[in-house]
């Protein structure tokens, strides 16, 4: 049974569909991507996101092929992506200063 789901080729995170142990190797697929191996570095609860590449600080995180926010610190491949390292871009004063839609 699959352990994580990838929603779009452009995504730099996948979502765990079961608990994944630290150090566990998992496979994920999406259309052209077939059985990509990922070594998971953290204990991951069901539903949490895992980085599939190294992501720089202040870089976009992509899920559904769309930007879901920016990193607040560097994230290494295989690590959990959540509120400790990812934040929303929208709904703050900066949204309008930066000319967001």
């Amino acid at each position: 049974m699959r352990k994580a789901i990838c929603l779009d080729e452009k995504d730099n995170v996948v979502t765990a569909v079961s608990i994944i142990k630290s150090g566990e190797q998992i496979l994920y697929s999406h259309n052209q991507l077939n059985n990509i191996t990922l070594t998971v570095k953290d204990e991951v609860p069901l539903g949490f996101k895992i980085a599939v590449t190294d992501i720089r600080e202040n870089a976009p995180v992509i899920k559904y092929g769309e930007v879901i926010g920016k990193t607040t610190k560097e994230i290494s491949k295989g690590s959990i992506v959540h509120t400790h390292n990812l934040k929303s871009i929208r709904g703050s004063k900066n949204t309008f200063v930066e000319g967001g839609c």
Binding site: R2, I5, L46, H82, L86, S88, R90, F96
Partner: protein, 387 residues
């Protein structure tokens, strides 16, 4: 094969999936009377409210009044008893309901009846007559073009965007293809995904309306010093793996399916033609579903992740989850399990037929969990200048 459900034909040609006699408080000071009447008469649907006493001015904002008229105009309601302190507001409500729908709308005004005890007695008598008349309406077969479906999500987690919301989206497309209407609400949970919905707008006017309601929410929160992304996602959303509002919204809008966006409508407004609509509502489920019921939704499809129990008392609310843990622990509150999609054991195409069959069963009288358990509420905010 043409899909059909058994419903109740109303005077204006709309079709109800329930046959309620509603007892409505016109204002909060009458809630006690409404509760007493409904405890004495079997099968009436009590609808109580907060506020209302200053909401009947001809010159003021009509949102509150129109919402009550909309709720009572829902085709799931056969007839109405309005309970008010004074008669002027009650008459206004009854006139508007009857004019809009042709249905029976009676009222009692406590000050006319003399006191609350005699008002309860009069209310019981009126409800007894209305129930007797309502029980004569026969069920008939109707196709899906008669349905208006509200799509809602609450207590979301990452499973919602990956399974329950896409499952609802499939049903939304089927209902619209059959000539029905689907309404997506919760404006702040479009924020971050509005560019996707905007592309589906049938013209620039609709596109601009959509972008405007989202921009207004964002600007208003910033102006009031609120960072919306700090309060939404909520704590339970975050515990379920949702990190940002953009992520939540991108998952949430999937429940509206893939049809063109016909129009953006106001809170409680009824869609005028078939197709897909966005209604401008607050994001909490009780408030959002109140808007959907007032807009004429006979059924609400409700995707949940971590679990949210609430339903609309007027529009049977079908709880769908893809989270296998929620199926296990929240089971009594869940109507339909799509965890097989989340786990990759079945596809959306595999389960859509079963979910549509389930929807038709509910439309034909099967009770939802929130109907059985009574986890239902109507929540109307007063207009901002509630003096």
């Amino acid at each position: 094969m043409m899909q059909e459900f058994s419903g109740y034909l109303r005077e204006n040609g709309e079709v109800g999936v329930r046959n309620h006699v509603a007892v409505l408080s016109a204002m909060d000071n009458c809630n006690g009377i409404v509760k007493k009447i409904s405890s004495q008469v079997r099968y009436v649907l009590p609808i109580t409210v907060w506020y209302g006493r200053t909401q009947y001015s001809d010159n003021g904002d009509l949102t509150y009044f129109n919402s009550l008229v909309g709720l009572m105009s829902n085709p799931n309601i056969h007839s109405v008893l309005v309970v008010s302190l004074e008669s002027v507001s009650a008459k206004k409500l009854c006139t508007a309901i009857s004019k809009k729908t042709g249905k029976r709308a009676k009222y009692i005004a406590v000050q006319e009846e003399g006191n609350s005890i005699s008002a309860v007695a009069k209310g019981i008598e009126i409800c007894t007559n209305l129930l007797s008349i309502a029980s004569e309406v026969k069920l008939e077969k109707f196709d899906l073009s008669y349905l208006t479906i509200g799509v809602e999500c609450g207590g979301s987690d990452t499973s919602s965007g990956l399974s329950a919301n896409p499952a609802l989206g499939r049903i939304a497309d089927i209902v619209i293809n059959a000539g029905g209407k689907v309404i997506l609400s919760e404006t702040s949970e479009i924020l971050g995904a509005e560019h996707i919905l905007a592309k589906r707008a049938i013209n620039d006017r609709v596109k601009e309306k959509l972008l405007t309601i989202v921009r207004n929410i964002e600007m208003e929160t910033v102006k009031n010093g609120i960072n919306i992304s700090e309060i939404n996602p909520s704590p339970d959303n975050k515990a379920g793996g949702l990190t940002t509002l953009e992520e939540k919204s991108l998952g949430a809008i999937i429940k509206g399916g893939s049809s063109p966006l016909q129009d953006v409508i106001e809170f409680g407004e009824t869609p005028k033609e078939p197709g897909f609509f966005v209604m401008d509502t607050p994001s909490p489920a009780s408030e959002s579903m109140t808007g959907l019921s007032a807009g004429g939704a006979q059924i609400i499809l409700f995707a949940t992740g971590k679990g949210n129990i609430i339903g609309s008392p007027i529009s049977p609310t079908i709880k769908v989850t893809g989270n296998p843990n929620t199926v296990e622990y929240f089971g009594p509150n869940i109507d339909f399990d799509v965890s097989s999609v989340f786990l990759g054991l079945q596809t959306l195409d595999d389960i859509k037929v079963d979910l549509l069959d389930f929807l038709i069963k509910i439309a034909s009288g099967k009770k939802t969990r929130s109907e059985i358990l009574g986890d239902e509420e109507i929540v109307l905010k007063p207009v901002p200048l509630a003096i």
